[in-house]
């Protein structure tokens, strides 16, 4: 699996490259800014690009703009955005319209190597990865007549994993239940929240996100 990286901190970039090498990824682009990343995406044909949201020269929105550009011009390339802070507003911007092949994680997550690698693979395969902090912010957001209160504790757990982009198999593994059990829970949750059922895992990420955001 081919990966391009844009990260201006040398220490972190080298750490990431090493981590990805160890995990069996082929790092085809090591970039320090958004322009370099765009060149790499065009010429090195990575399966996924990992982008620091703050990139030179201004460290304002270059990273996000590069991510959005890759999403619109190279939809076949997954984009995983890393940030020191996770912001709901940025998640909504990044996932506007589609949750396919996109991820947004707190930078700290790279230390949980197994989870991080799984997230990269998911995004590269057209799935999604949304940081648990964003999900929990959305889930715990105060609501009137909170429809989430109709969910059981287990259903809430599954809702959060779904929102984070975890596949049914991933949920089953994590909660040590059968895949069949997960599917049943998922359809119950969609029924309780009044959401239209969908088989696409990334489409349901967006559906859940929009539901939670409203």
């Amino acid at each position: 699996m081919r990966v391009a990286i844009a990260e201006d901190s040398v220490l972190l970039r080298e750490g990431l490259v090493r981590l990805l090498d160890d995990a069996g990824f082929d790092v085809v682009g090591e970039c320090t800014d958004a322009e370099g990343l765009m060149r790499s995406v065009r010429s090195d044909r990575p399966d996924v690009a990992i982008v620091d949201i703050r990139l030179p020269p201004t460290h304002n929105d270059e990273g996000l703009r590069a991510a959005l550009e890759i999403r619109s011009e190279h939809p076949e390339v997954g984009v995983l955005v890393l940030s020191q802070y996770v912001e709901l507003g940025l998640a909504l911007k990044l996932l506007a319209g589609s949750a396919e092949g996109v991820g947004y994680l707190l930078k700290d997550r790279i230390r949980d190597v197994a989870e991080f690698v799984a997230a990269i693979r998911r995004v590269a395969d057209g799935g999604s990865a949304l940081d648990p902090v964003i999900v929990s912010t959305l889930v715990s957001r105060p609501r009137h007549d909170d429809p989430l209160e109709r969910l059981t504790k287990r259903e809430r757990q599954i809702l959060e994993l779904m929102a984070a982009g975890t596949s049914n198999q991933g949920i089953a593994d994590k909660l040590v239940i059968t895949l069949r059990g997960v599917e049943k829970h998922v359809s119950t949750i969609f029924g309780k929240l009044g959401l239209p059922a969908t088989r696409s895992e990334s489409r349901r990420v967006l559906a859940v996100l929009m539901f939670l955001r409203a």
Binding site: L12, D108, I110, R111, L138, R143, H144
Partner: protein, 579 residues
């Protein structure tokens, strides 16, 4: 109060004026007597025309001298009156007075030219004018003597060599030259009338017109005289008639200055009602009859002139045709009047008006000074806030690029180490502990950096930044952001803090069940509104942080208002200019 003190001079002694008046009357009477004893036709008309000029010129000259001692015009007019009288001595039987009279025959034309060009100060202001008037005097007297020596005229003592044809040539040259100088004089008057600008007073314009007409008549008369064309006598009478009008126009001008002084009276009455400083200019403009009048107040602290709002004014940038009159009070500069040049002709009026407005001007000056200080204070408050903001941003950036990145990299390094030490359980456990410490440090650092400055605001703007704020709020929040793109960063930061501080207050005090955040762009203002349905009655002075918010908003020229009726919820509304 002191306006152009150098222009003021002592009035002449009344005895002197009275003496001149008596002399004038005697001269008038003498002219009549000479006319009737001389061998001339229509002596009544001749005498009346001489006195028509002599008496008004002397009278107007006396009034002018008395009322405007600083102007030499009065003296000049008196001289003009007596010169005309002297020319009537030509009718005398005795040879000596007749000689004098004939010598002064042409001189009145030069004197009138002098009077007209020297109006109103009585002084000729340019070398060219002096040259014109000097030439006129020389031509009026020099060739006259030559003519008389050559036998021109009769009953005088100068005739030496009787050559009538030569005398006629000299006379022709003399009259045509003076005629030309009169035309030049008309040109000078016309250019003065143009330069005087729009607020040129009507009486003044009429006066200048009467001068020009007088010069035109003299020029015409001399041309006719030079070629001995017919109807000379009729034109001569008409010319004398018209020249005699000028003193009346002049007196009307003086009278209008007296009317202006009654405008000063009106000004006194208006100022007694203590009009607000912003009306002072209009009152002064009315009293001075100069609608273009402007006031610049002196602010010694800023070493600058300023308008009433305390904004600096550059006096050197003023336009042509305008001039300034400084106004001092108790030895200190108060203000400067910027007015039309034509007002310089009426120093008394300026003096009276500024004296009447003294206290009001001083008040207005204090008003301007206060406004300038407030502006300066607001500016320095904004600068302090901005400097603080920039510093916080810089610190956040340093933490983000430095400590935070390094800690994550370090943590990753420990992971690699942990994998290599997989068969040393003790070491792995200690590495795990170290990892957890780094986790805590990272979380703390993140909170500190975030508290310093919400980086997402700089990078992505208000609409993006407020999503998280709304989602994290203690009560359900409806977020309505209606913004096209970004506004200036300091405004975004202020708006952001208005929202976060208001929501913090909702959490602490309001006992609310819901809140609404509204961001809108309206009439060049960014509107920020946070409304809750809580208990209201928020303390807007202490501890609520609202004071600090108001500071922030006001430093940007905006305003913050809070409605918090007991039991009626709280509405915080900020309007920040963002043109």
């Amino acid at each position: 109060m002191n306006v152009g003190a150098e222009r003021l001079a002592a009035s002449p002694r009344p005895a002197l004026l009275a003496g001149i008046a008596v002399a004038g009357c005697l001269a008038g009477a003498l002219s009549v007597r000479l006319a009737y004893t001389a061998d001339i036709s229509t002596p009544g008309v001749r005498a009346a025309l001489i006195d028509w000029i002599t008496l008004p010129y002397i009278a107007a000259g006396l009034v002018a001298w008395w009322r405007r001692p600083e102007s030499r015009l009065g003296v000049l007019m008196i001289a003009g009156g007596f010169t005309i009288f002297l020319s009537s001595l030509a009718w005398a039987d005795a040879a000596l007075p007749s000689t004098v009279g004939q010598l002064f025959d042409i001189l009145p034309a030069a004197v009138f030219l002098h009077v007209y060009l020297a109006f109103p100060s009585g002084r000729l202001t340019t070398t060219f004018q002096r040259l014109v008037v000097g030439s006129a005097y020389a031509l009026a007297v020099g060739p006259q003597v030559v003519k008389m020596v050559l036998g021109y005229g009769s009953n005088h003592l100068l005739v030496i060599w009787t050559r009538p044809d030569a005398a006629q040539v000299v006379e022709r040259v003399q009259l045509l030259s003076i005629s030309a100088l009169c035309l030049v004089g008309i040109g000078i008057l016309a250019s003065r009338r143009f330069r005087s600008g729009p607020p040129l007073r009507r009486s003044l314009a009429a006066l200048i017109d009467s001068f020009a007409l007088g010069l035109l008549m003299i020029a015409g008369l001399f041309v006719i005289g030079a070629f001995a064309w017919p109807a000379f006598t009729t034109i001569q009478h008409l010319t004398l008639l018209i020249i005699g009008i000028s003193p009346f126009a002049f007196l009307v001008g003086l009278l209008s200055a007296r009317l202006a002084r009654s405008a000063v009276g009106d000004l006194f009455v208006a100022l007694r009602a203590e009009p607000p400083p912003e009306h002072l200019r209009d009152e002064l403009a009315r009293a001075l009859r100069d609608p273009s009048l402007a006031l610049a107040y002196w602010l010694p602290e800023f070493q600058s002139y300023a308008d009433l709002e305390g904004r600096a004014i550059d006096l050197t940038a003023e336009a042509d045709g305008r001039t300034t009159t400084p106004i001092d009070r108790n030895g200190a500069r108060v203000a400067v009047l910027l007015h039309d040049q034509s007002l310089d002709d009426e120093p008394e009026l300026l003096n009276a008006v500024t004296a009447a407005a003294g206290i009001a001007l001083e008040n207005a000056r204090l008003h301007a000074e206060l406004r300038a200080r407030v502006e300066e204070l607001a500016g320095s408050r904004a600068r302090v806030l901005e400097a603080g903001q920039k510093e916080r941003q810089r610190l956040e950036r340093n933490l983000h690029d430095g400590a935070q990145q390094r800690l994550i990299a370090l943590s990753l390094e420990l992971r690699f180490l942990e994998r290599q030490l997989a068969d040393h359980p003790d070491a792995v456990k200690r590495l795990d502990d170290a990892q957890r410490e780094i986790d805590v440090s990272l979380a703390e650092l993140r909170a500190v950096a975030w508290g310093l400055h919400p980086a997402v605001l700089t990078g992505h703007g208000l609409a993006v930044a407020l999503e998280q704020i709304a989602a994290r709020a203690p009560v359900p929040v409806e977020l309505n952001v209606d913004l096209d793109g970004r506004v200036a960063e300091d405004i975004e930061v202020a708006a952001y803090y208005v929202v976060t501080e208001s929501l913090a207050n909702v959490a602490k005090h309001a006992k609310a069940t819901r809140a609404t955040i509204g961001i809108d762009h309206m009439d060049g203002n960014l509107l920020v509104e946070v409304v809750d349905d809580g208990v209201g009655g928020a303390d807007t002075d202490r501890g609520s942080g609202l004071r600090g918010l108001a500071d922030r908003v006001e430093a940007l020229g905006g305003r913050l208002r809070v409605w918090t009726p007991r039991g009626g919820g709280t509405r915080v509304r900020a309007e920040i200019p963002c043109a």
